[in-house]
Symmetry: C2
Subunit: 384 residues, 2 copies
Amino acid sequence: MNNFSFYNPTKIIFGKGEIAKLDTLIPKTAKILLIYGSGSIKKNGVYQQVIAALGKRKVTEFAGIEPNPFYETCLDAVKVIKQKKIDFLLPVGGGSVIDATKFIAAANFYEGKDCWEIMSKQSEIKEALPFGSVLTLPATGSEMNKGAVITKSDTKEKLAFHSDKVFPIFSILDPETTYSLPKRQVTNGIIDTFVHVMEQYCAYSVRNQISDRFAESILQTLVEEGSKVIKNPTDYDIKANLMWAATMALNGLIACGQPEDWATHMIGHELTAFYDLDHGVTLSIVLPGLLRVMKKDKLDKLAQMATRVFGINEGSRGERADKAILAIERFFRTVGAPTHLSDVNLDASCIEPIVERMEKRGWKLGEKGNITPAKVREILQNRL
Amino acid sequence: MNNFSFYNPTKIIFGKGEIAKLDTLIPKTAKILLIYGSGSIKKNGVYQQVIAALGKRKVTEFAGIEPNPFYETCLDAVKVIKQKKIDFLLPVGGGSVIDATKFIAAANFYEGKDCWEIMSKQSEIKEALPFGSVLTLPATGSEMNKGAVITKSDTKEKLAFHSDKVFPIFSILDPETTYSLPKRQVTNGIIDTFVHVMEQYCAYSVRNQISDRFAESILQTLVEEGSKVIKNPTDYDIKANLMWAATMALNGLIACGQPEDWATHMIGHELTAFYDLDHGVTLSIVLPGLLRVMKKDKLDKLAQMATRVFGINEGSRGERADKAILAIERFFRTVGAPTHLSDVNLDASCIEPIVERMEKRGWKLGEKGNITPAKVREILQNRL
């Protein structure tokens, strides 16, 4: 097992009816910026629950955070914060709304020339506005981690930053708020969660029993509940299991002591930045290709996963690894996710701009740093 | 799944050589009380590593914390803190040393008449001294939770308290510090961890996939690594897996959304208080009896555990439950733990004092509050 450190101070409040607890979680005197997306929270009643719980607190609203949140939109929010002397942020929505809030919280105090440096130069965050979240779309894990991904619309760059200063103080997770999610978002959430786990699990083995088995626990839960959820969108326990799975998939826990990959995400981010695909869609397309091209490096884990997650006991390690990749693709299709570039109307011409950018950045991805731009080409060619 | 909240701000630093990081974790100006037990840390080199890492900081030592830490000893430590104007506590040892530190940290500011009220009246803790720990004996999970168990020597009472104020700020877990542990302590640690998991897992099912599978992950790890550790006491990965398993077993994580039992611990505490048995020893004796007597209430979970943890796929639910209990007893004996009162030279006469005390306190234990004193008698009679 590798050495590691683990720290996660976010308080989770989980379950039906828990949005009412906002009243006990936010200071009575807080000047709140309520941050959300396209306004679906007004249709499903979440907005109304939040406003009721906040009572007489001063609330300013900032709507319109995009699904892949734009840097430029975040800067507008910072202006509102300064104007209205906001001292507490309350994102209500999915990972994009929470990610945007993290950037807004940090950008508000950023002293450098250009806030984009938080991503481009990974500048240190010295201070951030406090915030707590109400999650309505389980997928990114942003509700219980310190990372965020922001997109610059003019240069089509999608980059991440991390800081202990942007852990949510609390996050409220009520599975009932996810009943009204469109099928596409449910699918994206399942894929995102699945691939988060794979990035932290499917490298080489370091005899790390707890993190391996915790990861497998999440994968098994996704496979079992993911297959049922489309037909049972208002089954509380199915929704609760998927919601908690998504949080556990990216709160630092299953990374403890493990080598990590993250190449599928890095390639996926470029697909989103260039071709405006949903994040989840890019992942379900890229992952099977990456696993095939990098199979030799991931053989032990793929074979272990075949047995423990998919119940495949027959065959050599190599054969079980192949079967695991097929089982993953089959699962992705079961939940309605695309697995090839042609499924989203992209052809071979989409590949070179991505490879070129990676060459320019000098990126070598993966747990061993051996996923070169040439390998990325191979991976994407596998997905035509 | 039940509603729940989860909060755990302790920072974990895990791995070989990590004790040196104390220097970055404790303020340079801290006046430290170094708290430990019988002095084994001086024989295995841990003490020397700690002192080297602390450098020029002011350190006062307080040795002699008992395996089941005494209230009276803790009060002596509080006197030293006041005398020496200590502002940071550093327990180095196992769960008893960390438990004692939690009580000392809280008792130092307690304003009531008698600090024992922290346990007996569950008085609110308003303030506690900050502390970080160096763990050398994986078992209790105290290094990453907010609970402690303290014993009053004159009245033979062993009681617990919990407070957000007594989370360790950090805990350093170096598996190499556990190489020199005597076999008895390794066994006790495995049993304690196993039973912690069972208390949070083996009640009735609430369709809680993540917590169920995380619990099973820990049980599987204990069964696999526990069987190997006695013959391989200096295998780093075995020791690392057991150490991380113990922390994960009682840091709040696997309790999320679950009904909890804790009757085995409550009965075990009385066996320790009256007959001075090791905590782990009381648990390996009591658990199989409790599972037999309460089998009907725990049928689903026992059958599920039979399949998922012990690979028992044959038979009805009832038969698999019986086989799971037998497999647990067999595992306990494999790691050298006693499973009957006669193994520790106790006979039927040990039972009534415990039943009487529970009657006096009006305790009804277990996840359904149906483990009456009469059931406790039945459980202990099963273990003669």
